[in-house]
Structure formats: structure tokens, C-alpha cells
Subunit: 228 residues, 2 copies
DNA sequence: CTAGTTCTCGTACCATGTACGAGAATAGGG
DNA sequence: CCCTATTCTCGTACATGGTACGAGAACTAG
């Protein structure tokens, strides 16, 4: 899977013309993953959604994993990159918020991203944009790249967590019982006295779960305040 | 997969005694994953390593995914939790370094962790320890939990990236050609002029890759400096 | 129209998770 | 000491998924 063959689409010249484009294949796959999750993203399923035979996909993509990489870069290309304003902290926060929206729209993205270093054109574009945003910070180039990695990693990590929470609920048929079981388990664990500080924290916080948006903003502020 | 049945091992009373313990099964699975990667972690492979029939594993574990959760919590239990010194920033940094070592020793961990909210006893213990470490910071309880999530997320994200880099090299037979292809691709992409800031950054940094440990320390310092 | 080229996709194979059930091993009661 | 209930063992079998292969279809250049 060298990057050169992965990211360049072969141009058609002679022979039978392809019935689809690689973009269409990737877009269809993204649709499937959005609607039914990563586990439903099988070659057969994508082919059906595209209205083609399963093996035809291999004309556009060398293997399933390559399709995933293309999907990742494709959706990253959806991210809006607003022009830098000069306030790099605000710009970086806006960048992070856009990323979070992206990942919320494509909940499979954080998982797909894990353990992968994708360097597609759109990923490079996003990186380039972040570097531009960070120009006024006076940070050296390498530190800017690291700041980008830090923010992106935080967003992926955090949204991945948010999504996992949602999915755990959505996967079960008896939500009430699931929540109850969870609460019972935690109460028993904490009640055992093995986690005194956790017990203290839970007692102090009360039971109401924190607002997701506010939590993200709070943590994002921490990340950004550490930079520069 | 409710937590109550996942984390509590059934005690044996009547009937044929089990030939193994759940811990042994999990430890064997960890060994397989360490040595051959997550993709080699099949029920058959683990059973072979354990010297049992494949289906016998299901006596100890309800499904493959449950085995993975147990593995995660088991290796998290390996982490050394040094007593807090009062210098919470230093303690938190030490915590992060331990986590990084852990994940380097079990390179499958960052990937396995993605999109999962595991709350096993050892995970809770680590969380409890982090809360204790953060006590002198004066942060409110909720903020302490978020700080823990932030640091853990950063380490997982970063090590996941480090590991991906390693694996990309290790997976190919012709390393030289792979590196060359990568370099060619990047040079072509950046040379196209589509990524001016990236081009500038690469020119400024030179070609020598930064030291992995130093990079981690630098980024960790950023994360921690943002807290409190 | 022909030769060369490229795409299409049915068939087939292998790997994997796991349901099922027959048989084996044990503990406690008679 | 045997009998019965109970629990573990694991061979067999099936469904699902990635993908190699190759015959045929559809096109272009000459």
C-alpha cells in the first residue's frame, strides 16, 4: 500500500470504460458507514449500495483497507477551513470545533483513524491550514506541527469517547436495564471502598451528567491554553 | 455485554472443574497480541496457545470482544502507580510516561482502546490514582477527571501514531523502497505548491526526523502546562 | 472490422466468530 | 461406592467476509 498508488487514480484510456468513478465508490462507502457503522462496511454491502458486483470494487480500490483510507481523506476534505484571522488561539479553536462536527457527522471516523497515519491530499490540506493558522503564534515550524497533532488527537480521542457512549446505549434493546446495570456496577465498585478518590469525586459532582458541548469546550480550552 | 457479568468471574462449585483460569486465558491472549498483533488475535490462535480447543474459550469469556476488554483492563493493571509527591504536575507527567511505556510494550493497546469506554477494576484504579495525584492542584473533581481523560487520550493518541509509523515500516519486505516511495509521494505533493506552509515547515526543519522521546516530552509538557 | 485493452462479476476458497450438542469429569447424597 | 446433577471440553457445522481467478463484455485505436 504505497502512497503513490493509493492516492493517484488511474486515468482511463483504452478498453472498457469504468461504470463508476472512484469518488462515487468512496462516497457510497461513506454513506454506508454513516448509516450503518463501520462493522456494516463490507465489500458486498458497498457493492450493493453502488449497484454493482462485489468484485468490481477492486477495480477502483486495491483492498478494503485502501477504501478506508480513501474514505478518511474524503470526509476530512469536508471540513471547512476558514481564513485565519490573526487570533491563532481562536482560529485553532474554530478548527477543532469543525473537526468535532465532522467526526460527529461521521461517527466511524475516530475509530477508523486509530493506529493509522493517513497522508491523503485533504489531510495535508488540513495540516497546511493549521500551520497557516499558527503562523502568528511565533512557534517554530516543528512545534506548529506538533500543536496540530495535539489538537487533532484530542478531538479524535474525545469524540471517539462521546460516540462510544452513544453506541453503548444504542446497541442494546433494553436501554433502561443497561443503564441500571451500569449504575449498579459502578455503585458496587465505588462502594467497595477500593476507589476512595473516585468516590469522593462522584459524591461531589452529584449525579447529573455534564453537558457534552460544555465539556468539549472546557477541555479544548485547556489544550489550547497550553500551547504557545 | 453488561459490566456486571463482564467483570465478575463465576466461581466454581459443582461439576467438572475448569482446566484454566480466566486470568490465564487473558494472559495468553495478551501474549499473542503482543507477539503477533491484534489481527492475529483469533479465538483459534489463543486456544492453540493455551493448549485447548477453540470453543473452550467461551467458558471463560462470552465473546471475542469481551476477551479484548479483559485484556485491556489486565494490561492497564500492569501500570506502576507511584505514590503522589505533592508536585501534581510532575506526578501527572510520571503517570503519562508510565502509560506510554505500557502502550509501547503492548502496541495493540491504543487501537484496542479506540471507540471503547472500558471501566474495569484496573482502569478505575488508574483513574482513582490520577484523581489522588491531582488533589493538590485545587481543581474541582470534574476538572480532575477531565484532566485524566485529556492526558490518557493524548498518550493513547500519540503512541498509536508512533506505533503506526513503526508498523508501516515493519509490514513491508522492501523497507528501502517503501521509504523511498513515501518520500517521493510527499515531495511530489509538497512540490506541487498546494501546501505552501507545509513546504515552508519542511524546508525549515530539514530532513532529520525528531527524536521520539523528546517529541513526546515536548508535547506532554504542553498538555500539562495547560492544566490547572 | 480487428486486435488490444480494460472493466465486470460469478464462482470459489479460505479465515473467522460462534451455536450446538454429545461426551467427559467432578461433587455430593444415598 | 455408585448415581445424578452439574459444569466444562471441544469436534462439527454454519454464516459471514475478504479476495484470487478467469471468462466474457465493452470499449478504442488503427
Amino acid at each position: 500500500m504505497d502512497p503513490e498508488t493509493l492516492w493517484s487514480e488511474r486515468r482511463h484510456h483504452r478498453g472498457r470504460p469504468p461504470a463508476h468513478t472512484r469518488e462515487a465508490v468512496v462516497a457510497t462507502a461513506v454513506g454506508v458507514a454513516d448509516a450503518e457503522g463501520l462493522s456494516a462496511l463490507t465489500m458486498r454491502r458497498v457493492a450493493t449500495a453502488l449497484g454493482s458486483g462485489t468484485m468490481s470494487l477492486y477495480t477502483y480500490v486495491s483492498e478494503r483497507d485502501a477504501l478506508l483510507e480513501l474514505m478518511i481523506d474524503a470526509v476530512i476534505g469536508e471540513q471547512r477551513l476558514s481564513a485565519p484571522t490573526g487570533d491563532w488561539r481562536a482560529d485553532l479553536a474554530a478548527f477543532a470545533r469543525e473537526q468535532r462536527m465532522l467526526m460527529t457527522r461521521h461517527p466511524w471516523l475516530p475509530v477508523a483513524l486509530a493506529g493509522r497515519r493517513t497522508l491523503g491530499p485533504n489531510t495535508l490540506k488540513a495540516l497546511d491550514h493549521a500551520l497557516a493558522v499558527l503562523e502568528p503564534s511565533g512557534m517554530p515550524p516543528r512545534a506548529r506541527t506538533e500543536a496540530f497533532a495535539l489538537v487533532s488527537g484530542f478531538v479524535a480521542s474525545h469524540v471517539g469517547y462521546e460516540v462510544a457512549q452513544q453506541r453503548a446505549l444504542g446497541r442494546t434493546d433494553d436501554v433502561r436495564e443497561f443503564v441500571a446495570s451500569n449504575a449498579r456496577y459502578l455503585a458496587a465498585a465505588v462502594g467497595s471502598g477500593a476507589y476512595p478518590h473516585l468516590a469522593e469525586a462522584m459524591a461531589a459532582d452529584g449525579a447529573e451528567p455534564p453537558d457534552a458541548d460544555e465539556t468539549f469546550e472546557r477541555m479544548l480550552a485547556l489544550v489550547i491554553s497550553g500551547l504557545g
